[in-house]
Subunit: 415 residues, 2 copies
C-alpha cells in the first residue's frame, strides 16, 4: 500500500464519522482550529520563515514570495476565515425535494457530503486553512497537496488542525497533507480512484491543465479567466470608464479581472480616448487592433495571440467591433467561459448578451470583478469553476456536497 492509498483509506474512515457529525460539533471543530492556529503562531511562523528563506535562496522573488509569506495578521485572517465558515448554514441534510409516487413510494433527494475531497494547490498557505474549513463544514475529509515551496508551513498548519480535531474527540484524518511534494505524488493523487470523490486544482493554468490531462478521478476545473467587457453603442460612457478601470486595475492578477475590451464602432471615436487616458494614468499597456491604435496613440498592435491571453497584469487587449453579433462571436472564439460583461442601455442587447454568451457569469452594466463567492453571498469559496459539470462559477459549501435519493417504502415491488 502506497502512502497515498493509506492516506485515502484513513480519509475514508474519517469521512464516515464526518458524514453524520451534527452541525454544532463541526462548528466547534472550526472554532477550535481557529484558536489553535493563533496559539501556534510561533511554530507556524518559524516553519514559514524556513520556507521563505529556502525559496529566496533558490532565486524565487516578487509576488510569489509575498503569497508564500505568513505574518501574524495573515494568520489572524486565516483564523477569522474559519470562524466565518462556522457561522455559515450547514448544507448537509437538506432534503431538496420529496414526493409520493402513485405506488406509495416516497422518493426524496437529500444533500449529503462528498466523502473525500482532494485539493492540489500552489504555494499559498492560506488555501490550507480555507480548504480545511470548507471541507469540514461540508462534511468531507480532505487530502491537501500544496506546492513544495510551502511544504514546512503546510505541515505545521495541518499538524495544528489535526491536534485540534483530536482534542475534541474527532478523527485527526479529517485533514491530511501529502508528505511528499514530488511530481509523482501529484500524479498518484490524480489517479486515486476509489478513495477521492473529487479533485480540485487551485492555481495557475499550468497546474489546472496538468490535473485535467492526467486525472482519472472526477475533477472540477477552476479559474482561468480571459474575461471581456463589450461597450455597446448605447452604453453610459462615464460608467463604462469606471467599470473598465475597476475590472482591469482593481486587482489585475486575479481570474475575474478584465483582459479584453470590445468597443462598438459607433462610439469608438468618443470612448476609446476617454478610456485610453484613464488606462494610461494607471500605466496599463493597451494592445489594440488597427482602429484602436488609430484612436489611442499609446496603443501597440495586438497579435492574434493577444486575443486569447489572460495577462493577469496591467495589460489589456482592445478591439473595435461593428455590432453585438461581432462582439458575441469574438467572445465565443476567445473566451474561457469565466466572466463576460456588456455595458449597454439597450434592453434587447442586454438580454441577448445574457442568453447567448456561454460563461459561468454574464453581466450587464457591472464589473466582472464580482465573480467571487463572498460577493455572491456564499460567505467563502473553494474556487471558481469554469467547467459545466457539477458546479459553475464560484463554489461555496453547497458545491462541495452531493445528493442521494432516499426512498421510504412499505413493501413495494416493481411490476
Amino acid at each position: 500500500m502506497s502512502i497515498l492509498t493509506e492516506m485515502g483509506q484513513k480519509a475514508k474512515e474519517a469521512a464516515v464519522v464526518l458524514a453524520v457529525l451534527p452541525t454544532p460539533k463541526k462548528n466547534e471543530g472550526l472554532c477550535a482550529a481557529a484558536e489553535a492556529l493563533l496559539a501556534a503562531e510561533k511554530e507556524i511562523l518559524a516553519a514559514n520563515q524556513e520556507d521563505v528563506a529556502a525559496a529566496l535562496a533558490s532565486g524565487i522573488k516578487g509576488a510569489f514570495i509575498d503569497r508564500l509569506t505568513l505574518t501574524q495578521a495573515r494568520l489572524e485572517e486565516m483564523a477569522e476565515g474559519l470562524r466565518q465558515v462556522a457561522a455559515l448554514d450547514d448544507p448537509v441534510g437538506e432534503v431538496l425535494s420529496m414526493k409520493t409516487m402513485d405506488n406509495g413510494l416516497m422518493i426524496g433527494q437529500k444533500r449529503v457530503p462528498m466523502g473525500v475531497i482532494g485539493i492540489i494547490f500552489e504555494a499559498r498557505p492560506n488555501v490550507t486553512a480555507d480548504a480545511f474549513g470548507l471541507c469540514l463544514k461540508a462534511g468531507s475529509a480532505v487530502i491537501l497537496r500544496g506546492g513544495k515551496e510551502a511544504f514546512r508551513t503546510n505541515q505545521a498548519v495541518v499538524l495544528v488542525f489535526r491536534q485540534a480535531m483530536e482534542k475534541l474527540g474527532l478523527p485527526a484524518d479529517i485533514v491530511q497533507v501529502v508528505p511528499d511534494t514530488s511530481r509523482e505524488s501529484a500524479n498518484e493523487m490524480m489517479r486515486l480512484n476509489g478513495y477521492l470523490d473529487v479533485l480540485i486544482p487551485r492555481g495557475g493554468a499550468g497546474l489546472i491543465q496538468s490535473v485535467v490531462q492526467n486525472s482519472t478521478v472526477p475533477v472540477i476545473e477552476t479559474g482561468v479567466g480571459n474575461c471581456h467587457i463589450f461597450v455597446d453603442e448605447t452604453a453610459d460612457l462615464e460608467k463604462a470608464v469606471a467599470i473598465v478601470m475597476n475590472a482591469k486595475t482593481q486587482r489585475p492578477g486575479v481570474c475575474n479581472a478584465c483582459e479584453s475590451l470590445l468597443v462598438h464602432e459607433k462610439i469608438a471615436e468618443k470612448f476609446l480616448p476617454m478610456v485610453g487616458g484613464a488606462l494610461q494614468s494607471k500605466s496599463v499597456e493597451i494592445r489594440g487592433d488597427e482602429a484602436t491604435c488609430a484612436l489611442i496613440s499609446a496603443a501597440v498592435s495586438a497579435t492574434e495571440e493577444d486575443w486569447a491571453t489572460e495577462y493577469a497584469d496591467y495589460i489589456i487587449s482592445t478591439r473595435v467591433v461593428q455590432n453585438l453579433d461581432e462582439a458575441i462571436s469574438h467572445i465565443r472564439k476567445y473566451a474561457t467561459g469565466h466572466s463576460e460583461a456588456i455595458l449597454t442601455e439597450n434592453y434587447t442587447n442586454a438580454q441577448r448578451f445574457l442568453n447567448e454568451v456561454d460563461a459561468a457569469a454574464v453581466y450587464v452594466n457591472a464589473s466582472t470583478r464580482f465573480t467571487d463567492g463572498a460577493q455572491f453571498g456564499f460567505g467563502a469559496e473553494i474556487g471558481i469553476s469554469t467547467q459545466k459539470l457539477h458546479a459553475r462559477g464560484p463554489m461555496g459549501l453547497k458545491e462541495l456536497t452531493t445528493t442521494k435519493y432516499i426512498i421510504y417504502g412499505n413493501g413495494q415491488i416493481r411490476q
Copy 2:
C-alpha cells in the same frame, strides 16, 4: 483537423442555435424525428439486418443479438420514446434563484444547456434514439459513438434524424455519429477537450472503466451496481421474500438488480429457508457464507470474490450478519454506490441505514429495482450515475443541463 475535431466544431455551431431554440420548436423536432423514424422503417431494418447477419457470422449470439436486433415494434417504441420526451417539461431557462445584493446587483442562477454532449455506447440501437431525444430537448448537440456491431443501424437512424432536422430548418449537426468504430476514434473522443462538455459512457463495466481511465473531458460514470438487500431482525418476512425475489429475478441483467443478500442472524433460521425455496423455484444459484450453507442445502460456498461481484444473472450471494453495523460495514466494503435496501420494522435502524449507507439510492422496505428515471418520475433517463459529481442516481433532462449566473447591474464596481 481530424474527423472528430471537425465533428466537434460542427456540433459547437449547432449548439449555438440549439441553446436559444424555443421549446415548441424542439418538440416539433422530436415529433418530426419520430415520424421520420417510422417512415424509414424499410431502410433502417435493412441496415439492421446487415449488422445482425455480420454479428452472427462473426460468432456472436444470445442476448447480444437480441439487443442488437430491431423490429417494427422496437422502432415504434423508439418513436414513442421521442414523443414522450417532447411531452416533458423543458428544463432550459428556469431561473433557480435570484436575489438582490446590498450593492443593488441582481444575481440569478439560470439553467442552460451543456453545449455538446458525447455518448459512447455498446451495440444497442435504441440508445441512439434515446440519447438524441434527451439531448435535443435539453438543448445540447450530441456526438454518438456506438458499438461497431450496430454501425450500419446507427448510421441509418442518425441519417433519418439529420434529414428530419434539416427539413425543419434546424442544423443537421444537432446529432452526429462517429463514422469510425475503431478504438482510436473512441480514445480521441475521450480527449476532445474544448469541443465536448461532457462524455457519458453507457454500457458494461469494461466500457465505463475505459472511459474513466482514458478521458480528459469531464465524464459521468454510469451504471455498475452491486446492490444489497439487508433483511433486519424485525423485517416483515413475507414482504421480504417478495422484495428479494423482485429485486433478484424480475430482470436480473440490469444494474439495479439485487446481487447480495444480508440476513440478520436472529431471523436467519426462519428466513433463509423461506427465501431459499423461493429463489430455487426460479433457479437462482445461491452462494452463501457458512451460516447460509448450513440453512440452505442447495447453497454453495461463496468466495471473497463473490461479495464484490455484479452477477447480472440468476445468482445471489448471501451472508448472515450479527446486526445492522455489520451489514453497513459489509455494504461499505463491497458496494458500488448504486442502490441499497434495508427491510425492517425498526424505525431507528431504518433512519440509520438511510443516513449511513453511501449510495445513489437508499431504500427502506422496497425493491432496489425502482432506481430508474421513469420510476422516479423523470419520464426518461440517459443512464444512472454512480459518481458523486454533478448527478447521482437516474439522470433525466435536468441532469443533462448546467447553470450560469446572470447578473443585472447599473454601474456597480467592486470596492
